[in-house]
């Protein structure tokens, strides 16, 4: 075989150094010929580039690492944040505007942060949240915080992601020592220190989603402190809790106009050696500090980026057909919430009320999915959307879930369930499927569903299943229910495997009857 093959395409000008100088065969990038074992000298540029690559990839990377490691993360005011800073790691210094909330899915946490020039949502991963709970670093409203995080800037909702718990510095807001009788719902959102004797501790029944309840008594009266299993596990010497004198830092909240005291961390509860000193209670100045709220913060940064939105919220009555096509921000109490019927493509419909005026606001399921706190009847909400007119009436078309914001979750008026409309269970028939009914009765044993719970609700006339989905019924409502409780509930009549049921409506659709 002596034919001399012509050069292959692309090989016409191929360098000789690709071939062995001794035997002439192609050897590529190797330095020793695999055919005859001869040393293959490479062009200087190729040798140099190979060494340069290895050096840059190792030594260069190490130097870059040192540079990054020793670089101070810049402190930035939120008001100076620009879109080009997206993904930047910055340090901020300011105040937690809200208590950190644990998310239903994923186990992470989030809180609103303000540094006086702007406000931003801060996300904390599940692992970080656990570490923060262990170290009692979970921020509460009013706490001073300083941390480094990664910026995520978007048109309607910018956020930060905490970089590291080690970089999170927290100074608790002052919490005055108060007598139990002096704590009122007016102090909602503030933190106070209380002292007293533990009269009893009620763990939640097995398989229930209720919190622990600790009954505390001082000279002025008695109150219940609520907390979850995680916090309970953190309490030191919890075996001797009942009968012991304790000091606890709690946050004041309310549910259905009733005072609630919440323990955010088990580390906030300390068992005392004996009864607390009588003069430990708050002076007027301390009381003032206890009701500490952020003072007149500068206007938060407007992330709407120039869209024609009114700078302040309109009242419900101010939204008229004349505003058709305009983007407005409206504030009102939620009158009703109607989620789309199963199998339909209807939007969510929320009726906002302000006095006698009402406004129907609608948004799609995708918007609902991102609403951090879902609208519930009675709560004060602010929504931004485009005004549309239907049958001469204005409606608000909300496009983004981030434009639905809770202002105040205290129901302003009557409870969500109108008991006067309660119907006997036996009167509900299959013909009423899809219609809303109010029922009243005693709950049977709970049955866990995927994503919810079912109770058999019995009244004098019969029994019907009450279905409560976690995705639409607030956790407080679910936690308040239990076997043997007398409740009133409202929801649509449904049917499952031939049995009628009441599917509790979204929001505060079930309540315990005192």
């Amino acid at each position: 075989m002596t034919e001399k093959p012509q050069a292959l395409p692309g090989h016409e000008t191929q360098s000789d150094e690709m071939n062995c100088p001794n035997c002439g065969r192609f050897v590529g990038a190797v330095t020793k010929c695999p055919y005859c074992g001869s040393k293959v000298e490479k062009r200087m540029s190729l040798v140099a580039i190979r060494w340069a690559a290895v050096l840059l990839a190792t030594v260069g990377l190490f130097l870059l690492f040192l540079m990054a490691k020793h670089r101070e993360i810049p402190v930035v005011k939120l008001g100076e944040v620009k879109a080009t800073m997206n993904f930047a790691q910055i340090r901020v210094d300011g105040v937690a505007e809200s208590d950190a909330r644990t998310f239903r899915s994923g186990g992470g946490m989030g809180f609103n942060f303000s540094d006086g020039t702007g406000t931003i949502m801060v996300f904390i991963s599940q692992k970080q949240a656990q570490e923060m709970q262990e170290k009692n670093l979970v921020p509460k409203a009013g706490d001073k915080v300083n941390f480094a995080g990664g910026l995520n800037i978007s048109d309607d909702k910018s956020s930060m992601r905490l970089l590291s718990v080690d970089e999170f510095h927290l100074t608790r807001a002052p919490a005055a020592t108060m007598r139990l009788a002096d704590i009122t719902t007016d102090m909602k959102g503030s933190s106070v220190t209380i002292e007293g004797k533990v009269m009893d501790l009620f763990p939640p029944p097995a398989d229930s989603k209720r919190p622990y309840a600790l009954k505390l008594q001082d000279a002025s009266g008695e109150q219940t402190i609520n907390f979850w299993q995680t916090e309970y596990d953190q309490i030191a010497n919890k075996d001797v809790l009942v009968g012991a004198y304790v000091r606890a830092r709690v946050s004041v909240a309310s549910y259905q106009d009733k005072l609630q005291l919440k323990l955010a961390s088990g580390l906030d509860l300390e068992i005392l050696d004996g009864p607390p000193a009588a003069d430990a209670y708050a002076t007027p100045a301390q009381k003032a500090a206890a009701t500490y709220r952020k003072q007149a913060a500068p206007a938060p940064r407007d992330f709407s980026r120039g869209r024609s939105v009114a700078s302040t919220s309109l009242s419900v009555s101010a939204v008229t057909p004349a505003l058709k096509g305009q983007t407005v921000r409206v504030r009102g109490r939620v009158d009703s919430v109607r989620p789309p019927r199963e199998g339909t493509k209807q939007p969510f419909a929320v009726v906002l009320r302000d006095g006698d005026a009402t406004l129907r606001a609608t948004y799609w399921s995708n918007a609902d999915a991102v609403i951090p706190v879902k609208p519930t009847p009675g709560a004060l909400f602010e929504m931004e959307g485009v005004v549309e007119v239907y049958k001469d009436q204005p409606q608000l078309q909300v496009e983004s879930g981030y434009k639905v914001k809770l202002v105040d979750d205290t129901p302003a008026s009557a409870p969500a369930v109108d008991m006067s409309k309660a119907v006997p269970v036996a009167s509900i028939t299959a013909a009423e499927i899809g219609q809303t009914r109010v029922v009243k009765g005693v709950l049977g044993a709970p049955r866990a569903l995927r994503g919810g719970v079912a109770y058999a609700l019995t009244d004098d006339t019969g029994t019907i299943d009450l279905i409560l989905w976690e995705s639409i019924v607030p956790a407080e409502v679910l936690n308040a229910l239990g076997e043997g409780a007398s409740v009133a509930a409202t929801g649509d009549v449904g049917e499952y495997e031939g049995k009628l049921q009441i599917k509790a409506a979204a929001g505060y659709s079930a309540m315990v009857i005192p």
Partner: protein, 343 residues
Amino acid sequence: MKGFSHFMSGVAVASFGPWAIEAAQNGNPLFFVLGGACGILPDTLDFKFYRFFYEHDVYITPDPKNPDPQYVADEYARAVAMAVDEKRYIRVKLVSIRLGADFWQQYVVKIDNDKLEVQVQFGPVVNTGQVPVEGTEKRYPTVARAKLKAKVIQTYDAGMKVDIFDGPTIGLKPMENGDLDLEFLPWHREWSHSLTVGAMLGVLVGAGVWLASGWTPAWQSFVTIAACYGVHVVEDQLGHMGSNIFYPITKLRTPGLHWMHSGDGLPNFLTVWICCLLIFWNLYRGQPAMTYHFGFIHLMMVGLVVPGLVFGALRWLLNRGQKIQMAKGDDADDEWNDSKAAG
């Protein structure tokens, strides 16, 4: 089957373990990674480890500067003669011919048992994508021949092609009637493709996990590894070549069911796609609070049957009146070439 099909099968099998889904929901991807890795592991062991330690009796190494088919034919015939004369198993390595950074000289070795000869022809120069370089097809028209001392029985008629990267190994095994049985890639689908080896691997890893983390993750690891490794062996059994299913209890490959060739496009794609749907279904079942609800039949209709019918109908419309020729292949050859072509 191709590596990716095995890999996805492993992931799909892992997804049937509720512990895998639960772990994944808590940020632990290990069971799924283990599933995929064990799904492809038998081939990895063969192609990336064992073959480099496999000894050969005859190395047929054509010279890139002077590609001589007669040399190849003569060496092949010498190997056959060795097997016949010495009455032992002879392992032959056909070495590839590299011509340039992206060019390989292809050659084909074909056995003609009627004439009792081996025929070798140098084909086109191909690139690493195994596509012939234009103008090189007819550079070597000569067909070299050499007489064989015995018939060499192989399971398919096609010639053995040697081109990119590594060349294949063949085993010549003397049979009682004097013929030689040709085994393509004799180092492949031997000990590594065994259910017992998969189970043993599961026990080994499980024992390590038991020592480190206790009983529950240990048995979960064992089940995941054994099942995902096993599904590879079972899938390979659907082809022609088969596997040595219970090594070391069994010593030989059990022939496959002949349902498909391992390189066939459609069965491979269907395997991957069905695995994706099964994984999706298992994830859906493990999801605590779904807003959307659907059944298994619904998923299969939407994800498999309807798109499949539409694709089939379109293909039929586009190919009406045209004759589509499907290349005949062999399991080992398909796997060998596909693995190499994948880079």
